[in-house]
Amino acid sequence: MKDWLVKLKNLSLDKIAVAHEPMTPRYARAIDKRSYIIREGVYLGSRAIDFSSAIEVAIFAENPMGRRKSGFYSCFRIFYDSDKIPLLALVFCFYDGTESSPTIKSVEAAQAFAREGGFQ
């Protein structure tokens, strides 16, 4: 359901959290790129999780410097209310080709990667 991305776009940035991890430059980029990914990103798919009132979605945004560089592949866990209106989104995965994370340069490659991860 592509409208999860639309719903994410309607969520203010102060409701887009990031799962806590030890600080690295890539983790800091996960924090810094939230807005860019939601604004410029392409919806790849969603998957159900073992937690009611939440769903996970994968989104990919190409690098603003072009396709020669790795884009930003990100997964959000969206917690929603009884009307499926998002209350909070949590970034729990961020790949940009650094720190041994996968290098994904195109939407097509990102879609294939997301499918492998169970996102439909």
Binding site: D14, V18, S35, F51, L90
Partner: protein, 161 residues
């Protein structure tokens, strides 16, 4: 995933962004509904504003990492930067290459512009309307003045909880 106590405050939090490690005071960790320890969106914004204030408050050239960071935290596209400076997007892309910097004059214009974007919603809470005249004629003094105003804002926000 690191598990922390609920409501834990990290007194000195290292934030590796814009090409450096910044130490952010009193960063709060919270729990998502499923128990995942997280940095809330609001806390992330506070961290970003502290760093942006420090970058913008110094009369030096912008590095590629700093320019990217300021664009990210203000949701600014490279095209917007190019339009603001009346240069081509190619110029902005060139400045983004490793080892390059934004020329000083353009850096100072961008720092004032980004600082305003970062604090736009809180300008009325700041004292910038009482900016000393002398400061207005000196970019270095102006940026330093703005940075101090930003610090005062963060102090007031912390006292207000």
């Amino acid at each position: 995933m690191t598990k922390e106590k609920k409501g834990e405050i990290i007194a000195s939090y290292p934030y590796m962004t814009a090409g450096r490690t910044w130490v952010i005071p009193n960063v709060a960790l919270e729990h998502a509904p499923d128990g995942t320890v997280m940095i809330s969106g609001a806390e992330a914004i506070r961290m970003q504003r502290i760093v942006a204030n420090e970058i913008c408050g110094q009369a030096s050239t912008l590095t590629p990492e700093e320019l990217e960071f300021l664009c990210d935290v203000t949701s600014t596209r490279f095209n917007d930067v190019a339009d603001f400076l009346s240069v081509t997007k190619g110029s902005v892309t060139f400045w983004k290459k490793p080892g390059k910097t934004v020329p000083l004059n353009e850096s100072l214009r961008l720092k004032k512009w980004f600082w305003k974007k970062v604090f736009d919603n809180d300008l009325v809470k700041l004292s910038i309307f009482s900016v000393p005249t002398l400061v207005l004629t000196d970019d270095g003094k102006l940026l330093e003045f703005l940075r101090e105003q930003g610090k005062l804002f963060f102090d007031e926000a912390r006292k207000a909880g």
